[in-house]
């Protein structure tokens, strides 16, 4: 598989949110405004790339040689949480404006299952290091894309006459379902 195929696959065909249904919590929670959706998306993309690289190293230099694949989940969660913490401290010191923009979202990313999913899938597909990083980039951009799409529609929805029982999360889930169906159209592209 070429790098481009991997990128396209993670971005559109196997979009983490809309096709694999991972990371639904931030997808619903942070998709009310396009601005914050972009912030969350970029922060997640960043963490995904870093986490993909870190977990690849853990998998092939610690877990496999010592015959400990059953510790995969635990060690991956450990490394992702530490990475996020480190990135947060680093940003706070070096770029206060970026920290302010991403501030609330960074800690939330620790518990985003899309990142753990990405790490595990990268291992299952036995990607090389470069491929894993590209996979992480594609997954993050796909997450950002899904978030911005939903946020854009939800911003418009503020002025729509929605039936009372569907207001709020109800209509958002219907929208997400429709978006997911639309993304089904990418199947077969790769």
């Amino acid at each position: 598989m070429s790098l481009f195929t991997i990128l396209l696959s993670a971005l559109l065909v196997n979009n983490f949110v809309l096709v694999r249904f991972l990371g639904i919590c931030p997808f619903m929670g942070v998709s009310k405004q396009v601005d914050s959706a972009i912030g969350m998306g970029l922060a997640t993309t960043f963490v995904m790339v870093v986490a993909a690289a870190a977990t690849w190293l853990i998998q092939w230099f610690i877990l496999e040689p010592f015959g400990l694949p059953f510790l995969q989940n635990m060690s991956f969660i450990l490394v992702i949480a530490s990475m996020v913490q480190l990135v947060e401290m680093f940003l706070h010191k070096t770029s206060p404006s970026l920290y302010r923009a991403m501030g609330i979202f960074l800690p939330l990313i620790t518990t985003n299952c899309a990142i753990l999913g990405l790490a595990i899938m990268g291992v299952q597909n036995s990607y090389t290091f470069i491929e894993t990083v590209v996979f992480g980039l594609g997954g993050g951009l796909g997450f950002t894309l899904a978030l911005i799409l939903l946020a854009g529609i939800r911003e418009e929805l503020q002025f729509a006459d929605i039936p009372k029982p569907l207001r709020g999360a109800g209509i958002a889930f219907i929208l997400a379902g429709l978006l997911s169906l639309a993304f089904g159209g990418f199947a077969g592209l790769v």
């Binding site: 610690i62 010592f66 510790l71 450990l78 530490s82 480190l86 401290m89 706070h92 010191k93 729509a160």
Partner: protein, 275 residues
Amino acid sequence: MNTTIISLVSMGSMAALFALGLAVASKKFAVETDPRVEEIESVLPGVNCGACGFAGCNNFAEGVASGKAPVNGCPVGGLSVAKMVASIMGVEADGPKRRVAQVLCKGGHAEAKQRGGYDGPKDCRIAHATQGGDKACSYGCLGYGSCVASCEFNAMYMDENGLPVVIEENCTACGKCVDACPRDIIVLVDEEQGVHIRCRSLLTGRFVRQVCSVGCIACQRCVKVCPTGAIYMEDNLARIDYDKCINCRECVAVCPMNTIDWQEGKALLEKVAVG
């Protein structure tokens, strides 16, 4: 047995390595913050409503610690929170004067005339921006309840007459309804004030009478009768200066249109004339 030991050692050393890394990083990337910020934030209500003028409780706490915000600046927390914040900052505090929202329009379905229909979305801002709703008065309440929808404290409801009513006990003066109203009908006023001129129409008397039975016709009787000079005319509308009004109700008695309202249960005020 062997696997157990390997797992324990590898996971343990990984965890120790990360912990060490984070510990070093936290020292290296330490950012000096005022410890009082955290303390202040812990005593604030934490609703992040923005009523203080800052973008959330954390920003307000930073503002207080750096001297940009007053210790009693949180209208939701009131006196009790102001005292706690003041003790953290080491100063004395008076509670903020409690303010509540007042709706300055009495023209509900019964009083205000209709002019044609309106089928658009039931939202005041949209109605105002498109064809101005279905009421003939272009200054009055549109009656679609955008203010009520914006209230996060259950302090407003729409009555049968199609006007918003403020439940003063629940109102925190956060100002969301003030922003939501496209016609600037809602204002925040000190809670003790009981006399309100409930009209925003700048039309002259003749035209007010054509569209509404409770609008201000600019007859100036209230201006003449006010003992403290608190009422003045501006653009065909009587306006009240709350700094001077003492709740004497003279104006309420003479208003021919019944525009000026007295809220039962509020006391006569003593005010020192300024200027």
